[in-house]
Symmetry: C2
Subunit: 521 residues, 2 copies
């Protein structure tokens, strides 16, 4: 298993009159022997020296380090063509040279470029362990809470600011990770990132203007391996940066990374990868074929959509039960803190419970004829009260008012209808039934906290036995992490992205009719 970057410790004789080839040339000779000794395919030692490419900025330092360290140096290399057809590569690039043996300090960073939260892990590429994890709100939020606002801002001259904000967020995470693990940022020699198509464009400073209008053609799906210096990431300058490939405007590298993390392409049986985030995206398939679509008709279930919704963090209600007689809620709060809002799973639970207790009818309207003190009016909309500012018997305490409006329910129904329609169209297009799906992998922080039973009960998840579900967690981050530890995953991710048949559902003829008919519980 070849890591994304490989570190080779070399011991060279000093240059002499009998061996007065150039410093870099002698390093290359030793490097070829070392690479071959690790059993890489092909006889690199027979190849020409130009198969090891040094960036100009490393040639002088490489020579200086070789001399000052008396021939004992560690050279970190990577292959630009990890995604080569046969997985073999005869061509390497140098990422950094260091004095002495530094092979024990082999670090990489995996990043999930989320629209709302950016998450990162510092990975010890020698042991495979995660040394530190961190998350920060995407710095772009100041230019727009939701993606569409940001994309509009990008088209109005804000591209550079959006790019900087995201890069700054990633650099902030890297600082945090390095502080936690007590290492220097320059000791990191690889970065692997996955995000949706828009985030990937913004990460690279590419205009996302074509992504949100038909025919939804991205600037680029398969991103070449670039360097930290190219992008402005504060790790060692010539460290390679891998970005997971997108498949289409609405199907990004985050889902491809999820496909890698879930291993759906290893299965003989049909699997479904489901990511309900800013968009509801899914990949259906097995080791032979993959089909994907995004249900972009519905809004997200995360922060900023339902009025009282927020992220799954301390203070968020993540689990709720409604008493079928009193109609009062009983809930659990993340971190056992005072409740401040509902996270996605809390929202799904609330809707499932409202439906189960009859407070919600099958069209998604409140059964206001049921008598309970929980009905309130918020800005002229009907709402179910989850937490009042002052609960009875505790008048001194001022709490955040938490509720769910019929508008929130409508939004939710659109989302679940879009998910249902997307899945139906995908299944229809390959002539299969729901029950043919043997594994469902749910990705995204939403998927990690939601109750499978609740989500299936209200039709957000397909109605399949709970044991077929696997909670993948942050599949994007997990896939990015795997790419660091096994460059074969990079090859595979590129192949998966090429292999996926992507249905642009927003213009698919039957999508809208199925969507309309799915707007019921």
């Amino acid at each position: 298993m070849q890591t994304f970057t490989a570190k080779h410790y070399l011991e060279l004789e000093p240059g002499s009159l009998d061996n007065n080839k150039g410093d870099i040339d002698r390093i290359n000779t030793a490097l070829r022997v070392a690479v071959n000794a690790r059993g890489k395919p092909g006889d690199l030692a027979e190849s020409s020296v130009q198969n090891i490419h040094w960036p100009l900025g490393l040639i002088e330092t490489g020579s200086e380090i070789l001399r000052s360290a008396h021939g004992r140096i560690t050279v970190t290399v990577f292959s630009e063509n990890s995604a080569g057809a046969d997985g073999s590569s005869q061509s390497y690039r140098v990422a950094i040279t260091e004095p002495g043996d530094t092979t024990e300090s082999h670090y990489g960073v995996a990043v999930d470029l989320g629209t709302t939260m950016v998450a990162a892990e510092l990975v010890d590429m020698k042991s495979g362990e995660t040394l530190a994890s961190a998350g920060l709100p995407n710095g772009q939020i100041i230019y727009g809470e939701d993606l569409l606002t940001r994309l509009h801002y990008a088209s109005q001259g804000g591209l550079e600011k959006l790019n900087s904000a995201l890069i700054d967020t990633v650099n902030g995470l890297i600082d945090e990770l390095c502080n936690a693990a007590r290492i220097k940022t320059r000791m990191i020699s690889a970065l692997s990132a996955a995000g949706n198509t828009s985030m990937t464009h913004l990460f690279l400073g590419l205009s996302p203007s074509a992504l949100r209008q038909a025919p939804f053609v991205p600037t680029i799906n398969h991103i070449p391996i670039l360097t930290a210096k190219d992008i402005g990431i504060n790790i060692t300058s010539y460290a390679p940066v891998y970005c997971f490939p997108s498949v289409g405007s609405y199907l990004g590298g985050d889902l491809v990374a999820g496909a890698i993390a879930s291993g759906i392409t290893n299965n003989d049986n049909m699997s479904l990868l489901l990511d309900i985030g800013t968009n509801g995206e899914m990949i259906l398939g097995n080791k032979d074929w993959l089909i994907a679509g995004a249900g972009a008709a519905g809004p997200a279930l995360e922060g900023g959509v339902a009025e009282c919704a927020g992220r799954a963090e301390p203070g968020a209600i993540d689990n709720i039960t409604i008493d079928p007689e009193t109609y009062d809620p009983l809930f659990h709060v993340i971190g056992d803190a005072p409740a401040k809002n509902l996270c996605g799973s809390g929202l799904v639970d609330t809707i499932a419970q409202l439906f189960k207790t009859g407070l919600l009818d099958s069209t998604g309207r409140f059964s206001l004829e049921i008598k309970t003190g929980r009905w309130i009016k918020v800005n002229g909309r009907n709402a179910y009260l989850i937490q009042d500012a002052a609960e009875p018997g505790d008048k001194a305490k001022k709490l955040p008012v938490i509720y769910i409006t019929d508008k929130d329910i409508e939004s939710f129904i659109r989302t679940k209808a879009a998910m249902t329609a997307a899945l139906t169209v995908l299944l229809d297009s390959v002539g299969l039934q729901l029950d043919d799906i043997s594994h469902i992998y749910t990705a995204g922080s939403f998927g990690l906290h939601v109750s499978v039973e609740s989500a299936a009960a209200i039709g957000l998840y397909p109605r399949l036995p709970a044991e077929r579900f696997t909670l993948l967690g942050n599949g994007s981050l997990r896939g990015a992490r795997e790419a660091l530890l096994n460059s074969g995953r990079i090859t595979k991710a590129e192949k998966i992205a090429d292999k996926i048949t992507y249905l642009e559902l927003s213009v698919h003829p039957s999508f809208m009719s199925i969507f309309r008919s799915a707007k019921y519980f």
Copy 2:
């Protein structure tokens, strides 16, 4: 025959809902088909997209040009691994994208990075023609006329200035070439350069400090293919720059380029490539083996060495005959201008004639006992007068005084002794005789103007029949030109440099004794 960069005109359908892959991805798909249609080895279309590498700086513009030019674009690519063992390459890099069909405008620049003069040619890579040639004094001259002074200056903090001066000279030449051919500098998509090891280091901004002290280990011999942007050359930013490889501190890419231009590695018979420039360098061998050395004991024959010596340009005496009775000189001046100095060939002619007429004895001392008005004293040294300030019968005219001193003769004798010693050591080391050499190629501007008979008569050239000599001219520039037109030459140059057995003559045991015994005519 594959040129260094290849231009491919592509016609793409606009992106649509049925074909909404990324812009760059669709370009890559079309590019693979185009590359394969030209009969390149390997099935690139089967390979992953990452085998075509786009620099980040070209991704956005590539996409914009594709859209604005309605799918009609020309993409210029090159292979970093032209020097691959088997000559095949599955990996390309993009140098530039242009709207429309620009395949007729395919330009490259070949450069000879001479210590004294930098010469360049603008090459039409489509037709193979040279569109313009230009030469400029190396801008480094203000920091030192000779190389050693410059290398000393580099070690005293002058590296950056020396680098800039050379880059400015090359950029000045490129401007001149573009003006002459009426093209824009950004239309040039490739540069190929050859120079001695020190010049190559300075061209890349690498410290040459290790080159002039034992064990004479360069920073790098085989230079990776870099981009114009890396080096600061004013052609299209991502144009590839190829630098011919050095073999050792005293045997540089200029001679390797000369080996390419002469074709000595194609011969079954033994050939000798001779370059008498700042150093006297030579390569001996045939298609099976190559051995090289540099006779660095003698000073150059070019400008700045003999007191009245200069470059082979208008005003330089390039041919001289001394009347055996009157001992008066009869000479030819380049450009039929008034004589101002002696170029290398004029110097060789003068010495050969002085020896032939008996004015010089076999130890290199003037025969002052011969009576002639040509003997003069210059700063206490004896000298032979070639042109007086006012020649008899033309008293009004003030001409430059041109002469040759016994010190000049001594310098020359050291040079020719070094050349002789170098060749003798090389021949001895392979157990061959002088007469086994069937072809002698003389490179350098010196070689182009010198009379083979004169040079052989006084032992500067090996005493072999004139018909065995071929005047190569600027072999460095010719080799650089060939690399632009045929990337196979790049592969070959890298192999030649690897193959050459380089004898460090300055520390070779028998070199000095042969040198001493060769200090006679």
